[in-house]
Amino acid sequence: MIARAREAGADLVVFPELSVTGYLLAHGVHELAMEADDPRLEPLREASRALSLVVGVPLRLAGGGIANAALLLEGGEVRGAHAKLYLPTYGMFDEGRYFVPGRLLQAVASSLGTFGILVCEDAWHLSSAVLLARQEVDAFLVVAGGPTELDAGAQAAGARRWHAIVTAMAATLVTPVCFVNRCGWEEGVMFGGGSWAVDASGAGLVEPAPPLAESLLVATLSRDAVRHHRSLHPIPQAERLDLWRAEVERDDA
């Protein structure tokens, strides 16, 4: 996939949540967790000399515990990481049993720009993207392992929900979004695929990926277009942090 992306002229390849190991690991996460300098990541570190990569791994933390993390690899090394903040532990999800939550919401600096990385459930908490937008990210990278149901719709139901979130995130924060989701089956669970990229107005830059087959989507993000959108729609700059502060103070009281 990386070779194909390179042939297509990509500067950055983004893979889904826990892309290196698979998502439904349960206690198997203890067998597969790795540190950032793990030898098993060497082929990816090497590949990152030619183009930037975002991959998902169960990341062993120095102080103990395992994070559900996305790593940015560039120039043969790990340049940044985001540990998933919100671990869904309801319905079919049991992440709180196997992972520890991340504690920081920090944009990741890349040679290509500044990215706000969100791992799946992080994006279902709208505040995550709002706070990252305050850090003036060039784009959101939403890496997901989103399961799906099938209903009467033409698309997987999960992908439809994600597309609504991605569109709203882009349009309200005037920031492009690359949404990358697991597809196909794992342990009897179907993942919805539907990976997609939208510009800072929420308009699609490519056709969404199908639910069942691995796909390479190539999208071009334009800083000029983002600047233009943000000049016409200065919505994130108008965020009323005083309301947030009042809510936090009320909660503290």
Binding site: A26, D151, A152, W185, E186, E187, M190, L212, A213
Partner: protein
């Protein structure tokens, strides 16, 4: 009255075909083994497998006993023909007779029916061992929720593509896949004794039960709400009684936990670690 929501049948079919191809690949085995009963569920399971991994990698067995309706074998042959599947007929009448005599079960049609279902399970898993295959399950969601199956009999399988599909959705899926019409259109029957039908045993049709099960199991409506919506109270009571009584069949055998590493309690691990 609330209806059962529809599903996108072609998308369901395509998704289940990918599922079956992936499960066989991940297992490292070479074929699916399925018992063709002549009914619609096993026909759909076999058709999905045939299109997923190729008919040459689907081993079909027809496993009649003395009480089986001859029409069932004819329908199994029609299904095999429709999907270019090789069908082997193994008559289990004699083993069933010997077992029934040994266990003094003659005349008890429920026990005889369970024995037939479990003998079929033995034949299917034995064939799976011989060919290096996975036994394909054919139980649908309605049957599972109502407990309408023989534990370790027809409910025993390695992989089940239909277990989260309502019986009401099996029929349009069967038509979409090209299952012969007589197999789709006949009344559902386990065919464990002459004249047996699912509706006769359960006391209601799947078409009536499925919406109740859906709104209760998936949408959380209680009995009072269901009756308030217009579902007949006796029907709601009958469906919910079967639903409550059958839960012991939904999960693997309960194991007495004595350590901090009890399998499936303290240690839940992927089934195919090398997948």
């Amino acid at each position: 009255m609330r209806e059962l929501p529809e599903v996108n049948v072609p998308l369901v079919a395509a998704s289940l075909q990918v599922f079956l191809a992936e499960e066989l690949r991940a297992s490292g085995l070479s074929a699916y083994v399925v018992g063709l009963s002549g009914g619609v569920d096993s026909a759909v399971a076999a058709a999905l497998a045939a299109t997923a991994v190729g008919p040459q990698r689907v081993v079909c067995l027809a496993l009649p006993v003395a009480a089986s309706n001859p029409e069932s074998l004819e329908h199994a042959r029609r299904v095999a023909g429709a999907f270019s599947l090789q069908l082997e007929v193994l008559d289990l009448s004699e083993p069933a007779r010997v077992l029934a005599a040994a266990l003094a079960a003659e005349g008890d049609r429920l026990r005889l029916g369970n024995m037939a279902a479990r003998l079929r399970m033995i034949a299917l898993f034995d064939r799976a061992r011989r060919v290096g295959g996975l036994v394909l399950g054919t139980s649908n969601k309605s049957e599972i929720l109502l407990g309408y199956s023989t534990l370790f009999g027809d409910s025993a399988a390695s992989v089940n593509p239909l277990g989260d599909l309502w019986k009401s959705h099996i029929f349009p899926l069967a038509r979409h896949l090209g299952v012969p019409a007589p197999v789709v259109d006949k009344p559902p029957s386990a065919d464990l004794w002459p004249g047996q039908t699912d509706a006769g045993e359960l006391g209601f049709d799947y078409a009536d039960a499925d919406p109740i099960l859906y709104w209760h199991h998936e949408r959380g409506m209680d009995r009072q709400s269901l009756v308030g919506l217009g579902f007949p109270a006796p029907l709601v009571d009958a469906v919910l009684l079967a639903y409550r009584r059958s839960r012991f069949k939904w999960r693997p055998t309960v194991v007495a936990r004595l350590s901090a590493s009890c399998v499936n309690v303290d240690r839940i691990l992927p089934r195919n670690p090398e997948r």
